[in-house]
């Protein structure tokens, strides 16, 4: 094989580079897929670690509430102002409550909650598991016949998938409250009418589709954190690289899957 490589003319070098990177990308997609499959299987098969799950639920869910709440209230307020300006061009300022509610529940609530979680949780998971990998704790775990997938990966996957819809629900409420605050305090809307318009307009599916999205995003966030942490190589620098990769890849996957899920929901 090496002889054949040497025999090839230099002009094939770029072609080989393209081929190598393509195969590398494919291998990575396959690796993530296999990792996800193993993760899901270990979520659904014993032994379970309920204490670990509880700890992750609190760490991922409860401690993300302040960040998610702050993001939601400012986004709702800014969205409200912008829609008021935009609506003013059609003399339709009155539709602001409805559009804010729709935008928050269908799109911004789940996506922003997921992005904050990607920054906060995905990085933390990658750093934690990456550090355990770098200090060979994962190998030690295996020698003690504890499956690192069941002990480390499964609780995080399950916790993030369960908790992000709940965070999104909070983000929906607080986001609408942000729009309401701006409308009532600055734009002189009637508080009662604003709230009533919102409540009458919103349908169950607006919120429900956002929650389904959120569950998928939660899985992605935890999966990327676990995958990059688990496969971290090369000590402290490797851990640093793993956290960056985890955040970036989960953010990109969130946006991509958001588009596809939205397409699915609007055509379903």
């Amino acid at each position: 094989m090496a002889a054949a490589d040497a025999a090839l003319p230099a002009m094939f070098k770029p072609v080989r580079a393209i081929g190598r990177s393509t195969l590398g990308a494919l291998r990575m997609v396959g690796g993530v897929g296999m990792f996800a499959l193993r993760g899901v299987i270990s979520v659904f098969s014993p032994p379970w670690f309920p204490i670990q799950l509880l700890r992750q639920l609190v760490a991922i869910g409860f401690f993300s509430l302040p960040v998610v709440g702050l993001t939601a209230i400012f986004t709702g307020a800014a969205l409200g102002l912008n829609i008021y300006t935009g609506g003013g061009r059609f003399n339709a300022e009155q539709v602001m409550p409805q559009i804010v509610a729709l935008g928050i529940t269908r799109e911004l609530g789940p996506v922003l909650a997921a992005l904050m979680l990607a920054g906060r949780v995905s990085a933390a998971i990658a750093a934690e598991i990456g550090a355990m990998r770098a200090t060979e704790q994962i190998d030690a775990m295996r020698t003690l016949s504890t499956d690192p997938f069941r002990y480390l990966v499964a609780p995080r996957l399950l916790a993030a998938t369960l908790v992000l819809p709940l965070l999104t629900l909070v983000a929906d409420i607080i986001g609408v409250a942000g729009g309401w605050l701006v409308a009532v305090r600055i734009l002189d809307f009637n508080s009662t009418i604003y709230v009533r318009n919102t409540m009458n307009f919103i349908q169950g599916w607006d919120v429900g589709s956002g929650l389904i999205k959120a569950a998928v995003f939660g899985f992605i966030v935890a999966l990327m954190g676990c995958y990059h942490g688990y496969n971290a190589k090369g000590g402290a620098r490797g851990v640093g690289r793993a956290t960056t990769h985890a955040v970036v890849s989960s953010a990109i996957l969130i946006f991509a899957s958001d588009y596809f899920l939205t397409t699915l929901f609007t055509h379903a």
């Binding site: 409860f62 401690f63 509430l65 302040p66 998610v68 709440g69 003399n91 339709a92 009155q94 539709v95 909070v170 409420i173 607080i174 609408v176 409250a177 309401w180 508080s191 009662t192 009418i193 709230v195 009533r196 318009n197 919102t198 409540m199 009458n200």
Partner: protein
Amino acid sequence: MREQWAETLMGFLVLALAAGFLVYSLTVGGVGGKPGGYDVTAKFGQVGSLAPGAAVSVAGVKVGAVSQITLDPKTYLAVAKLTLDPDVKLPSDSTAKITSDSLLGGVHVAIAPGGAADDIKPGGEIDNTQGAVDLFGLIGSVMRPQGDAAAAPTAGAAPAANPAATAPDSY
């Protein structure tokens, strides 16, 4: 550990804020008025976009809410059940009228009190009613008095772009 306490506190604060706004929304935007109100009914030929939860006002002051809208299957009239503040007694010849909050906003029921000596009893009916006005039908009948306005009932912006009105759907 101290930092954890702060975060825990913040988490509860956020939850409390969300719960507070949700409760406020449900009480304000939810169906039904104040507890302890009394119900009267009013029959309308056309309720338009009136929905349960809409306000009932006298002289612009909210005195209750629409709690239910049903169709009378015999007369094909819409029956609105209004839940009113117990402090507000309406003369029996009052008029209920469906009016718009704004051009695009919701609608509410405005009650013009009459002059009769006796009041409407709880469970009674407001006999004099005026249903919702079909705004676009009205615009259409002004724009095209000939009567084929039914072809484009929602093309509100069409005349400005196309005064000849030969193409009703100029989108």
